[in-house]
Symmetry: C2
Subunit: 340 residues, 2 copies
C-alpha cells in the first residue's frame, strides 16, 4: 500500500486513491454512542492492549487519543482522511491507531467500536482488501467480535450490517462535472447500490471535481462481490470521463489548454488564495497533468497541496489559529513554494 | 532621444513617453484635403527632394509612401504611434519620413502638408523640443512655410493655428483609474487648456490605464510656455498618482500585490488572450514594476508587448490576416516568449 498523498506518478490517471473500511464491534459491549467517556476510554485501552500485544505492531503503529489533542490537530487528521467527523464528535472517548505511512487507521469508538480502514493511492482494491483482511483477522484473534450467524457482523447502524464493509474510490471527474453529467452519474450509481459524494463531503465536489464512489449495500453480498462491483463501476466512470474529456477538448480545443495553464500560472503567482479557488485551480492543473499537457508538475505535489492547504492542516503548520485572511496568504505561500 | 518602446529602465516611472508635433503647410498650396491624389503625390516628391538634399538625412531617414503599402502595414505604423489615423485616411496621397530609431516621423499630407513629430521615452520635453526645432529649422530652410505675422503658422484646422504645436505625454495612471478619479482629472485639465485621452483613442484608457495628456491651446502662447505648462500638469499628475497608489496599497495591501502577481502569472501562462485583457494585465504588471514589487521584468519588455501584440502589428509579424481566434493564440505565444 502507498500513502495516497505521496502517490507515485505511474498509477492510472483519474483514480486518486481507494479506501476500504470494516465496521466491527466487541461482543456484549454497548455501542459507543451510549457508553460514558470513562467506559469509552477503558475500551480504548483494552483494544490498544490487544493490538499492541505483538512487537511488530508496537514498532509500526501508533495510537492517538483524541481527548489529548487540540481541536485543530483533530480536524487536520480529518482533512488527511485518517479519521471521520464522527470520531471527532466522540473525541472525549475516541482514538485511532495508524501506521507511519498513514495508510491504515483503526478508529476506536466512532459509530462502532472499531472502524478499520486502509487507504492507498491508485485503484487496486484487491491489494487493499488483502491488507485489510489480514489486520481484521489479527484483531479477531485478540478479541471477540459481535457476530450473528444470520446477520453477519453486528453494527450500530443497520446500513452497515453483514460484511460491515464500505469501499470507496476517489476519482477526479472534471469533464463530467464541467458538462453537467454528475447528476446523471449519481442516478445511475444509486440504481446499482452505489453512491457518490464530494471529496470533503456533500457539495465540495463542485470545486475540487474529486468524488468518492462507494457501495451502499453491505448485507446479502460477500466482500469479493462488493469490491468487484465497485471496480466495474469505477472502470465505467473512467471510460465516461475519458470520453467526456475528448469531446470537451474537441469542442473547446485551446480554451481547455488555456484554462489549465492559466490555473497553473495563478497557483504559481497568487499572493492570496481561498480554499475554494485553490481546489478549483488544483483540479484544472491535475487534469492537465493527467492529459499530458502539463509535464513539470507531479500528482504527488498536487495531492500534497490539496491536503496541506486545508484550513486545519494549514493552521497546524503554523501552530496558531489564523484568521481567514492570513490563512489565504499562508496557503498561497505554501503553494508557491511547492510549485516552484 | 530614445525609442519609447525600447525604453531604458532608469527613466522616471509613471511617464512612459513624450511627443511633440508641429503642424506646417507650404505657402500658396491648397491644404491636403482638397488636392487630388496626383497633386498630393507630387507634393510628397517635392518635400522628399527638399528633405533628402543633405547626405546625413539620406543616411539616417527613410520615406514610406502609404499608397505603396498594404493596409495591415499602415495600421501597424499607427499602432507604433509613428503615424495618425488621418494619414491612413489620406493613404492615396500621403507618406511619412522616419529615422531608424522611429523617434522622428514627418507625416506628409495628413490634415496639414507637414506634421513633424518627435517621440522619446521619458518625460524630457525640453530635449525633444530642441530636436524638433532643429528639424523644423532645417525644413524651413528648404521650403517656404505658410506663415502670417498675426496668426503665426497657418493650419488646415484653426485649433492648430499659431505655434502649430501639440505636445503630449503618455502616462500610466492605474491607481487614479481604479479609484474613479479620471473624470475629475479630465475636468481639471480642461480648465487649464489641456486634455487627456486613452492610449489608442477614446475609452481605451480604461483597459491599459495609459493616457495621453496634451495641450489644447496653440495660439497666443509661445512654445516654451506650452511645454512648461504641460510639464507642470504632468508633475502634478505624477504626485496625484503616487498618492493614490499609496492610499490604495494601504487600504488593500496584499490584494494589490496579489492582483499584480496574478497578472504576471496569467501573462506567463495563458494560451489565448484578447487585446483588452492583455492591456489590463500589462498595466497591472507595469504598476508592479514601477512600485518595485516585480523585479525580474523590464519596462522595455512591457512596451514591446504593448506594441507588438496590437492586432495589425501582430498580423504583420505573421504576414497574413489572422482571424481573432488565431490572433489571440499568437498574442499569448508572443507574450510567453517575451516574459520567459
Amino acid at each position: 500500500m502507498h500513502n495516497w498523498v505521496e502517490c507515485n506518478d505511474n498509477i492510472e490517471d483519474i483514480v486518486i486513491s481507494s479506501r476500504i473500511r470494516l465496521a466491527r464491534n466487541i461482543k456484549a459491549t454497548p455501542f459507543p454512542n451510549i457508553i460514558s467517556n470513562e467506559e469509552g476510554r477503558n475500551l480504548v485501552t483494552s483494544i490498544e492492549d490487544a493490538f499492541f500485544s505483538s512487537d511488530s505492531m508496537k514498532e509500526n503503529y501508533n495510537c492517538v487519543h483524541l481527548w489529548e489533542m487540540d481541536k485543530v490537530s483533530n480536524i487536520s487528521f480529518l482533512e488527511k482522511h485518517l479519521i471521520s467527523k464522527k470520531l471527532i464528535e466522540n473525541s472525549n472517548k475516541s482514538a485511532f491507531i495508524s501506521d507511519k505511512d498513514e495508510t491504515v487507521s483503526i478508529m476506536i469508538n466512532e459509530e462502532d467500536h472499531i472502524r478499520l480502514q486502509c487507504i492507498s493511492s491508485g485503484g487496486d482494491l484487491k491489494d487493499i482488501w488483502s491488507y485489510c483482511e489480514k489486520l481484521d483477522d489479527y484483531l479477531e484473534e485478540k478479541m471477540e467480535y459481535a457476530f450473528d450467524e444470520k446477520l453477519g457482523y453486528l453494527t450500530a447502524c443497520p446500513t452497515n450490517l453483514g460484511t460491515g464493509l464500505r469501499a470507496s474510490v476517489m476519482m477526479h471527474l472534471p469533464a463530467l462535472t464541467f458538462n453537467n453529467e454528475m447528476s446523471g452519474v449519481l442516478n445511475a450509481l444509486t440504481q446499482v447500490g452505489m453512491t457518490i459524494r464530494g471529496l470533503y463531503g456533500e457539495g465540495s465536489g463542485a470545486y475540487s471535481n474529486l468524488y468518492q464512489i462507494s457501495n451502499q449495500l453491505t448485507l446479502g453480498i460477500n466482500e469479493k462481490d462488493i469490491l468487484s462491483n465497485l471496480k466495474a463501476v469505477v472502470n465505467q466512470l473512467i471510460t465516461q470521463e475519458h470520453l467526456s474529456r475528448e469531446q470537451t477538448l474537441k469542442k473547446y480545443n485551446y480554451e481547455i489548454e488555456d484554462k489549465i495553464y492559466r490555473s497553473l500560472g495563478i497557483l504559481r503567482y497568487a499572493v492570496t488564495i481561498d480554499i475554494k479557488e485553490c481546489l478549483k485551480l488544483l483540479s484544472n492543473v491535475r487534469m492537465g497533468v493527467e492529459m499530458g499537457i502539463i509535464k513539470d508538475v507531479s500528482k504527488g505535489v498536487l495531492n500534497d497541496i490539496l491536503v496541506n492547504t486545508q484550513p486545519a492542516t494549514l493552521n497546524k503548520k503554523f501552530d496558531t489559529k489564523l484568521a481567514e485572511r492570513e490563512l489565504n496568504l499562508k496557503r498561497a505561500q505554501y503553494i508557491r513554494e511547492k510549485l516552484r
